[in-house]
């Protein structure tokens, strides 16, 4: 057991999966000698060599396209998009082939591959480096979309994603890369993909979030609990597609109140889907409308003014109180 940052925990998962399965390899821009722009793949080139740690030319579509070919041939490629903002260049390959090959061939060809990408704001980065676009991937049938929130679950979910039989988009909240440390077991550990986790049980209200937003959500929950003595249940979705509706709706069935916290722009995102599922399954148990704390439907502003656009603990706390008081 060691206290690791998320960067170190992801690195550990990659190294251990590569050690135990010779078909696992990593590829991407600057991931070899440079260890990745966030140093997530640091040391892997020295450990596993240049046939398993591939510094590719600068071309996102071919990074995924060649990964698809490798996966067809029986390898388990883990490719890195340097930033979520550059990943749209490979979306054609992802939609046209990664998500469809299993259905197209009725399971004769499957594509066990992972696309890792850092996402989200709050790190004072350039344009295209701050978005939270999980909904774009989650909308595609056949895609699995995983967003860890801390070092331990990042390590366990990445290991599970590498062993998974389907393409997984693994979105790493770069704001949390080095923000805090957690105990991470030395021995390989996995968590199930497609399962949300109740990180704190409660009876008065259900808080739902994922990825980088788990931090302000937890902070707001602690504040409101202390201020009002409210019992808040907190769910970390961990996987956005396929969405674990059951864990959310069973919680809301008990609490009758729900606040969903999402970093992404409001419309057509996971918070919309979660709200719709609550409406489908437990409408008659609701004591208040489902509240959403989200980004706004605007082009992400440059970092000079991003702080008010990213949901804060204060905004989340206000939404919790309003929903409790409804």
């Amino acid at each position: 057991m060691a206290k690791l940052t998320m960067v170190q925990a992801i690195n550990l998962a990659l190294a251990q999966e590569m050690e135990q399965d010779p078909t696992v390899l990593v590829l991407g821009e600057d991931i070899g000698r440079d260890g990745g722009v966030f140093r997530v793949t640091d040391g892997l080139l020295e450990k596993f060599g240049s046939e398993r740690v591939l510094d590719t030319p600068l071309a996102e579509s071919a990074i995924l396209g060649t990964s698809i070919g490798m996966a067809m041939a029986g390898l388990r490629p883990v490719c890195e998009m340097q930033f979520c903002g550059f990943s749209y260049l490979m979306m054609g390959q992802f939609e046209a082939h990664a998500t469809r090959m299993r259905a197209r061939t009725h399971g004769q060809i499957t594509l066990p591959l992972v696309v890792r990408m850092p996402y989200g704001g709050g790190v004072r980065a350039l344009e295209h480096h701050s978005e939270s676009r999980e909904a774009m991937w989650a909308h595609l049938p056949g895609a699995k979309v995983v967003l860890p929130s801390g070092p331990r679950n990042a390590r366990a979910l990445l290991a599970a994603a590498i062993r998974d039989p389907d393409p997984v988009v693994f979105m790493e909240p770069k704001h949390s890369y080095r923000a805090f440390r957690e105990e991470v077991p030395d021995e390989p550990e996995t968590m199930p993909i497609g399962k949300a986790q109740v990180v704190q049980p409660g009876t008065d209200l259900t808080l739902v979030s994922w990825g980088a937003m788990m931090r302000p959500t937890l902070k707001a929950a602690a504040e409101v609990a202390e201020k009002r003595g409210a019992s808040l249940e907190i769910i970390d979705m961990l996987t956005i597609a396929p969405l674990d509706a059951h864990t959310v709706t069973e919680s809301v069935r008990r609490t009758g109140r729900c606040v969903v916290v999402q970093e992404a722009a409001r419309s057509f995102g996971p918070s919309s889907e979660i709200t719709a599922l609550i409406n489908d399954k437990v409408f008659l148990h609701l004591e208040a409308p489902v509240a959403r704390v989200t980004g706004y439907d605007v082009v992400t502003p440059y970092f000079g003014r991003e702080k008010h656009y990213i949901p804060s603990a204060g905004r989340v706390a206000r939404a919790i109180e309003q929903t409790l008081d409804f």
């Binding site: 070919g69 029986g74 399971g107 396929p242």
Partner: protein
């Protein structure tokens, strides 16, 4: 430092058999008689299937499809030269090569009539990837397959097809660049059939040849008469040897002509000159190959008539199988979304089946 040339290149054009079927004896690969006859039979079978599919489509018995007529001399020799472990990575004008590779005649019929069953191979070991409808995507796939075969020490080569229009796609360039940087054992064949739906070759690229695009990536390239099966045989064997000896990728431009429409949904009369088509029909591959076989004493009218009857019968049998009502389930789409089990798909499958029952198994009314 004076100004001086830093790079020079040239591109060869290869033709072994001219339009009349006259062979260049120095370049003739001297294939055994049986191999030559086998090659002609595959080309003839592909042509017969294509012609029959067009009739079926016009009769409303088949969906839209892209005819392959005129392209037989490209993919058939290539598939015959490939080894069993090599990967055949097609676009959608390689019917002949796919048949050589082991795809059943029924597969294109199912595929173009809206059934995924047309993608399922009798054996995945045939190493034949599904048709790639989106132009260009298959080039990086082939490079990944080639990389994997080297990684797994399989000594296999990936052979990839794309059209002249496809050379304008980013994935073509990205894929070839990766191939060259990785020295991947991959051969890319541009079937330059002069037309990308309505866009002629001259409006597709200002390059003098499609082959020379390989020069920019640092790989050997060759322009071949794609209506000449012997030239294709020579070219693909050179490229396969090059890849197998660890020297990396090759780009081959096969110059041919799209004698038919792009797909059955367009009419070339709207965008191209019929005189050009007429001229192209005189250069098509079957005429010259038949003349060559005749000159070698391997072929005559009686043999042609017997082969015509045989391939007609083969295709007819496939059509009969294809048109025999199948009992494939309506809800198979729910079986193959993921390799793992997820409750929302169970719920949606039940909803789907209830709706199908409610519609009484009739065609759903979509207004």
């Amino acid at each position: 430092m004076p100004r001086k040339p830093v790079a020079k290149f040239s591109v060869d054009h290869l033709q072994v058999l001219d339009e009349k079927g006259v062979v260049d004896a120095k370049l003739d690969p001297n294939l055994p008689d049986e191999r030559l006859l086998e090659m002609y039979r595959w080309m003839r079978l592909a042509r017969e299937l294509d012609e029959r599919m067009l009739k079926l489509q016009r009769q409303g018995r088949l969906g839209t499809f892209p005819p392959n007529t005129g392209h037989e001399a490209v993919s058939v020799p290539v598939a015959m030269a490939m080894g069993p472990k090599d990967w055949f990575v097609g676009a959608f004008r390689e019917t002949g090569g796919r048949l050589v590779r082991g795809e059943p005649l029924t597969s294109p019929l199912y595929y173009y009539n809206g059934w995924e069953e047309g993608n399922i191979l009798p054996d995945p070991a045939l190493r034949l990837t599904p048709i790639s409808v989106v132009i260009g995507c298959q080039v990086p796939h082939a490079v990944g397959l080639a990389f994997a075969s080297r990684y797994l020490k399989e000594d296999a080569v990936a052979v990839c097809f794309i059209g002249d229009g496809g050379t304008s796609e980013g994935d073509f360039h990205e894929g070839l660049n990766f191939a060259a940087v990785w020295k991947a054992p991959v051969v890319t064949i541009v079937q330059n059939n002069q037309w990308a739906i309505s866009i002629p070759r001259s409006a597709q690229s200002a390059s003098q040849t499609m082959a020379q695009k390989g020069v920019a990536f640092g790989m050997p390239c060759l322009q071949v008469d794609g209506n000449d099966p012997l030239a294709m045989w020579v070219a693909i064997n050179e490229a396969l040897d090059h890849a197998r000896s660890g020297k990396g990728p090759t780009l081959i431009e096969a110059v041919t002509y799209r004698l038919m429409m792009h797909t059955t949904a367009d009419d070339p009369k709207k965008y191209r000159d019929e005189a050009e088509e007429k001229c192209a029909w005189e250069k098509e591959p079957l005429i010259r190959f038949r003349a060559y076989l005749g000159a070698r004493g391997l072929w005559d009218d009686a043999k042609e008539a017997a082969l015509a009857a045989a391939v007609k019968d083969q295709v007819e049998q496939a059509v009969r199988t294809f048109e025999t009502p199948n009992d494939w389930a309506d809800d198979t789409a729910f079986d193959h979304v993921y390799g793992t089990d997820h409750p929302h798909l169970h719920e949606q499958r039940a909803e789907f089946l209830a709706n199908v029952r409610f519609d009484g198994g009739k065609e759903a009314d979509h207004g």
